[in-house]
Each structure stands twice: as C-alpha cells, then as structure tokens.
Symmetry: C2
Subunit: 279 residues, 2 copies
C-alpha cells in the first residue's frame, strides 16, 4: 500500500493505473476510520481494480466555532486499517498544498445545500463539494463511494457530479450501525460513557417514527412531535432539527409519502450527531 502525501504523487499514481487500463474506486474520508468507511472500501475493492482512500480533514467545510481542531486524527491506525482492507493507496495531502495561499475557487450546489444541516452549518456543503471536486480531478476515479449516514452530502455530491458532467459514478451505501442502533461516526469518539448510552435514543426515535408510518399515520407534525418527545427524555440531548423531507430535493413535506427521508440532528452533550432513515 502506498502512502501518498503530495499532489504530484497522487496524479502520477492515478495516471499509472489508468495507463494500465485499471479501474479506480475512490473512498474520500476525513480519517478516524470506522466500520462504515471499511464497508465502502470493501465495496470499492469488489467493484474496481484499484482502490484509493483519501484522508483529509477538510478545513473549508468547518464553520468557525466547529470542531476542526479537535476532529479525531489517527493516521497510523487509519493506515493499518486500510492496509488490512487491501487498499492500494492512501492520499493524505497537507492543507497548505491543497489550499495554497490565494486559493479562490468554490463549487456550490444551490438549493440542496440550504436545507437540513445547511441551515445550521453555513458554507459546510460548499466546502464539501469543493474538496470532492478537487479530489475527483486528482484521483480521476471511475466510481466514488459515500455513506447514506450523510444523506444530504451524498445527494449534493450526486447532483454536483451530474450537473458538472463529471466522469465518475457515485455510489451511496447503507449506514452502518452499532448493535444498539447508533450510526457509526467518527464523532461518536467525543461522547462520554453516559452520552454514548443516551445517543442510542436517535435511532430509537427514528425507528419509532418508521413504525408509526407503517401503521398508516400520515400526520407529519404528530410523528415529529413523538420523535422529539422520545429524544427530549434524555437529559444530554438537545434537538437541532427533526424533519421529513423529499428524498430528491430535500424540501420539507407536509404529508407522508413514500419514499420519504426522515433526518435529524441532535446535540448529545457538546457533540452534534446526525442520523436518518428512508421510509
């Protein structure tokens, strides 16, 4: 496995693979890899000749006051996991060379970026689409893999790739969960033991909503009220949003239809967690 730290290196690696006629699968990450990431890597390995993982805590997708500085970083362990998973190359550029002085260019998907998390994280999705556009140009993958846990991100990246005619296929794979239902996330590492227990309530609340919908409940406001009351029972929980939205344009809906995306963002203590299900 190659550990590539500079831009020339990744371009050369990717070009080499292309010249040999090999297909490239790409898993962009911010590191602190967990089973969710590994499931993306596994799928990429299955579907491509070469798998490249990027590990880059992208500063421009963090708003000021967010957790950029303390975001978990453990390249040594990440590299170990990648090696074990049969990854061919890790690309972990330095911020200075990735966004050199005088950097000015941004990619923005309008509309989709303003809903859900976009309302609370100004500039976040612009940062995501910009870094992904750059990575796609450097890695030139045939297929790139994202997790459904970040449903809005996945949708926005699909839209960007389609709108800008990027020569890459976007695959979105299911959220991986711990046994107690909590969605796997690098940010779970922030939780205290007690908060970790409380955090189970997110998936419990989502599952309750699913059951209500399956029972035929159609009143969005009532279901959301139930979800919120379940979450609010936990002292450490502070809800940012709970919303039923259209699975394509992310516009809030007023009456249950199928499919529908139920998405939520909840602070557990000081840690902001997101989760979602498609019903």
């Amino acid at each position: 496995m190659k550990l590539i730290r500079n831009i020339k290196g990744i371009v050369a690696f990717s070009r080499q693979a292309r010249l040999k006629g090999k297909s490239i699968g790409f898993v962009p990450t911010m590191g602190a890899l967990h089973m969710g990431h590994l499931s993306l890597i596994k799928k990429s390995k299955k579907e491509n000749d070469i798998t490249i993982v990027s590990i880059f805590v992208n500063p421009i997708q963090f708003a000021s006051g967010e957790d950029l500085k303390r975001y978990p970083r453990d390249l040594k362990n990440d590299a170990l996991l990648c090696r074990k998973s049969g990854v061919d190359a890790i690309f972990c550029p330095q911020v200075k060379s990735f966004y050199p002085q005088g950097y000015k260019t941004y990619v923005q998907v309008e509309g989709l970026s303003d809903h859900l998390c976009g309302r609370f994280r100004p500039g976040h999705f612009r940062g995501v689409t910009t870094v992904v556009a750059k990575l796609f140009n450097l890695v030139s993958p045939d297929t790139a893999y994202f997790g459904q846990k970040d449903a809005q991100q996945a949708l926005i990246i699909q839209k960007m790739a389609e709108d800008l005619n990027m020569p890459v296929k976007i695959r979105v794979l299911p959220t991986l969960r711990h046994k107690d239902g909590l969605a796997m996330s690098s940010r779970n590492a922030y939780l205290t033991k007690e908060e970790r227990r409380d955090a189970r309530v997110l998936y419990q609340a989502l599952s309750c909503a699913r059951a209500l919908v399956r029972q035929g409940k159609k009143n969005v406001a009532q279901i959301i009220q139930q979800v919120k009351s379940i979450i609010n029972k936990k002292k450490s929980a502070r809800i940012q949003y709970v919303l039923f939205v259209d699975t394509q344009d992310l516009e809030p809906i007023s009456r249950i239809k199928s499919p529908v995306l139920l998405a939520l963002s909840v602070y557990i203590g000081k840690t902001r967690l997101i989760d979602n299900i498609v019903i």
Copy 2:
C-alpha cells in the same frame, strides 16, 4: 469532421481519442468564429493530435438585459471555417440538455470575478467558469486555448483550473486585431459602418497610453485621463471603465509598474466592446 450535438456523443468521441493515446486540444467558443478563434484552432492543431471546438452560446453568462438573444449565431459558416481549419469535431450542445431542468451547480472564482467586467456583469464570470468546467469534464482536453482579448476571463479560467486541480493546461494566445487595430470580436458584427470607424479609437487610446508609459510617465490618473479624453472625442463612445490593474490579481494599481494590464470597456453605440494591452 464530426458535428456532435449531444453529451453522450462528445464523451464517446473524447474517450475514443484517449484510448488511442491521442492528445486532445480544445477551443471553447460561442461561435460566430473570426480570425481570433482560428488562431487558437491553428495552435491547437499544431500542439495536439485531435482538435475539438465547442460552439455554445452559454445563457448563464449573460445577465438579464444583455445580448443573449441577438448574439450572432451562424453554425453553417462556423462549421465551414472549422472544416477548412482541420478541426476534428465540433461540439454544439442544446441548452436544454446542457442545463437540464433543476440544474443547480456553479463554479465560482472569488475576488478575480468582481473586478473590471465583473462589476458591470453580475454573475457573468460564474457562468463562464461553470460552462468551462462542464466542457472540460466532457471533452477532457490535454490543453485548452483562450484569447488574451478576454484577459480577465483567461486569468479566471487559469485560476479555476489550478485551484480545482483540473488535469488540463490552459494556453492564452495574443489578441488578433484588424489592420486598423480593432480587436477581433464576434460583437463587432453589431456595429454600424460609422460605429465601426469610431471603434478604432479603443486601440488608438490604448496605444497612446503605452507610448506615455514608455516615455516614463508614472501617474496612473493622468494617463487614464488622456485615454478617456481620446475615447470621448467619438460621439458614439460611452466609457464603462478604463483601468490599470495588476496582471495577476486584477487589483487596481496606483503607480505604473511592469508588467501592468490596461483594460477598458466602452460602449460604441449600443455595443459593449472590451480591449486590453499588457505594458
């Protein structure tokens, strides 16, 4: 020569060329081709195995009230010129398929896009960078060719390609001029006979400024005053801007240095013309 009208067609054509190991030169245009365009095509032919020209009047780079509808279109003649010049393929997509309903993604180069023409054409350069990003993804050229007549556009595209790590080389070639000095432009076709005569004043004024700088004049305000008074002698002329700016960041300068970009935008009758020289 192939005339390709749809997106699948251009992707297939470009992929075919790549598979054969051929280098691709690309000249993006809005049609109404003139000798300036042909000089770009000639250079592309010289430097690449395959030359692709796009002809697309890009609606999103026109602000409302601008000349989108009456912009000169003459595909038949353009195709003839391309064929004569040895172009391998023309790509002329339809607006509907290029920007399908629900299109949402834009590429923006901040800062550079706000100076000079950017102040008077809101959204113009965002439209330019977006269309060029899309075309680059579809054509996947090794090298793309632009004219120095649109100096700000060329600089912004270079910045975009560099910032987003696009795998393409940008070449900017000198402005071609008529014998009387007027820069070649598709918009010259709008001019009446009298306006066409008056339009010579743009290059006359620029040349006068160059002479003054070469004589050692350093006072920017004084030179600009001279340029403006030369232009204002023509009844049909209405100045939008005359500015000395830095050749890299396009910031206005207060004292002559070398190199410097002298750029101007002037309405001749109802036709907005731009021109520039590097001194």
